[in-house]
């Protein structure tokens, strides 16, 4: 287990993360939140690049400050797109494996294995500086998995990847997780996280606002109103009628003025009421659909409503 126990990190007076308590199990765990929400801080704390202002962190029973022991088990693919000048993909991975202390023979084996896993073996001897952003991303990923870690931490790993490469890398994450690895990913690309994650941790302003399985996170917010989008020709009229009923929490007209977002505490009653209003007002309705069926909606809800800051 990776455990955060009441961990806070402040950069001077600026909050990084505040009072985070979290347990991460094997499988794919995604940290989701907008820029500045604390995802990278949490990852840097986990890998010892930052030290907590308070609280304790345990990585498979080890302290992140024990770099010699921890980094035999952890691979971290940061978002910093930097490489030694003039290095080829093979040299780049090889060099850092040598720093691990592997022999030349073991290093060669591990480099080949890592480059094969990210489908870069054919480009192994080309200079990284000539690579596309997506290829550089894959080289860094190869470098972080080359020593066969049990924990893989990836900061925005899908940035800059084309759809095919993205699908391939997601498949690799899944494969690594299925092998028993802890794969911890940060992202703001929600639909991808939704597809691949076993667990999600939603972050906002340095706080964890929800965590658990994707559906568990949904359950966690069931006490909150459900949001429904009604695409129709006169959303103002619909909004006025819906507000007459107490279970309507909020009604907001869509930016294109061809729809209405409604938050309601009693969906069943709401749908009955909606049918009445449509009939009475002769509204032209194109569609009625809940908009928080996926993590994106949960996330949007949590980060845009005051109630999300638990």
């Amino acid at each position: 287990m990776i455990t955060f126990n009441d961990v806070s990190k402040f950069y001077g007076e600026v909050l990084g993360v505040n009072r985070v308590s979290l347990q991460i199990a094997p499988g794919i765990t995604s940290l989701v939140g907008p820029n500045g929400s604390g995802k990278t801080t949490l990852m840097n704390l986990m890998t010892g690049l930052l030290k907590p202002s308070s609280g304790q962190i345990s990585v498979l029973g080890l302290s992140p400050s024990d770099s010699e022991a921890v980094f035999q088990k952890v691979g971290y693919c940061s978002q910093f797109d930097s490489f030694p000048r003039g290095a080829t993909a093979r040299e780049f991975i090889e060099f850092y494996l040598r720093v691990h202390g592997y022999t030349r023979e073991d290093t060669a084996t591990l480099v080949r294995e890592a480059l094969e896993r990210v489908s870069l073996i054919d480009a192994a001897d080309r200079k990284v500086s000539a690579f596309s952003k997506g290829m550089r991303q894959r080289v860094r990923l190869a470098q972080s998995i080359a020593h066969r870690p049990s924990i893989l931490v990836l900061d925005e790993p899908l940035n800059g990847l084309d759809p095919m490469a993205r699908a391939e890398i997601i498949r690799l994450f899944r494969q690594l997780a299925d092998e028993g690895m802890y794969v911890i990913i940060s992202s703001h690309i929600l639909h991808e996280v939704d597809m691949m994650s076993d667990n999600v941790v939603l972050m906002h302003n340095g706080y964890i606002v929800a965590e658990g399985e994707v559906h568990g996170v949904r359950d966690e917010i069931d006490e909150h109103p459900i949001q429904i989008l009604i695409r129709c020709d006169r959303p103002q009229v619909l909004a006025a009628r819906l507000f007459e009923h107490e279970h309507t929490v909020e009604a907001r007209i869509h930016d294109d003025r061809q729809g209405l977002f409604v938050k309601t505490r009693r969906p069943d009653d709401f749908y009955l009421l909606l049918n009445d209003v449509i009939t009475q007002q002769r509204l032209q309705v194109e569609s009625v659909a809940p908009v928080d069926d996926d993590l994106n909606a949960v996330y949007q809800y949590l980060i845009t409503s005051d109630g999300g800051n638990v």
Binding site: Y11, L49, E68, F71, Y96, V99
Partner: protein, 287 residues
């Protein structure tokens, strides 16, 4: 074909602590030495290191019309002055500042230090590996400058006498002494600038303060003179350097004290650098 995933590479193959640390140090050195000699930052060092030799070559080609330049016995004094002011106090000082401050600061600016911090290597090993790599670069460059400058001056002005001086006389011993002082300067200044680069986001100001302190050493009372690197180095040069009419004179420290003192000082500074790097965090923000 056997799958690479099936090949067992056990953690035990990393070896015992000392052999592992040795391998890690050598691995760090191998990359860092390449960087120290061939990176873009290294380009500045070559003209710097060549400057004294070029100036002395020019001096021998177009010697000024003075008595000193016509008297072989004065060449030693001329070189002592050039060595003290130009090579030791300026070239070696600023060259070491450039090499050693960039060992860590340069990586922070390039946003690449995290690769080292994310490897299972003791951070102290990283300090040692980087320091030794800086030392190799500094000693090679400034050692060549020291030897080259001396030979250019002697052989450029008095080729025949110099041949006898270096082959059968005291020349070879003096040459080795100067080289030794240059090496000790790289060792001492290297450690100081390494920790300055670790400790300060903008190391130029502490570097200049240190430069000022080393330059005013000749004005300091004897006790304070000893709180500097240059005092011990000056004590070791084969031909004493004149410090001018305003210098506060003090007895040179004997070699048997000066050399161990410098080495001990270096060890203490590197120890402090080890403590410093253990506390170091990486965020790259504002770099």
């Amino acid at each position: 074909m056997e799958s690479t995933a099936d090949i067992a590479i056990a953690p035990e193959s990393r070896g015992s602590s000392w052999s592992l640390w040795m391998r890690q140090t050598l691995a760090i050195m191998s990359l860092e030495i390449k960087k120290n000699f061939f990176s873009r930052r290294a380009l500045l060092l070559y003209p710097m290191a060549a400057m004294p030799m070029v100036l002395l070559a020019a001096l021998t080609l177009v010697p000024p019309d003075t008595d000193e330049m016509e008297n072989f016995s004065m060449v030693g004094q001329i070189f002592a002055g050039v060595y003290g002011a130009l090579i030791l106090r300026t070239l070696v000082f600023f060259g070491c500042a450039w090499i050693f401050m960039n060992l860590f600061r340069g990586e922070v600016v390039d946003r690449s230090l995290h690769y080292y911090f994310l490897a299972p290597v003791r951070r102290e090993v990283l300090v040692v590996g980087k320091y030794l790599s800086g030392l190799v670069a500094a000693i090679v460059l400034f050692g060549i400058t020291t030897v080259g400058s001396m030979l250019i001056l002697y052989f450029g002005l008095f080729p025949t006498e110099s041949r006898a001086f270096f082959i059968g006389g005291a020349g070879a011993g003096q040459l080795l002494s100067y080289l030794g002082v240059t090496i000790l300067a790289c060792i001492g200044y290297g450690a100081v600038f390494l920790i300055v680069g670790l400790r300060f986001r903008n190391p130029i100001i502490p570097g200049l303060l240190l430069y000022g302190w080393e330059w005013i050493n000749f004005l300091l009372p004897p006790l304070l003179k000893k709180v500097s690197v240059i005092h011990y180095l000056q004590s070791l040069v084969p031909v004493p350097m004149s410090e001018g009419p305003f210098a506060v004179l003090a007895e040179p420290t004997p070699a048997w004290i000066a050399v161990p003192s410098l080495l001990l000082f270096t060890a203490v500074v590197l120890g402090l650098a080890g403590l410093q790097i253990r506390r170091m965090e990486i965020s790259y923000a504002g770099e």
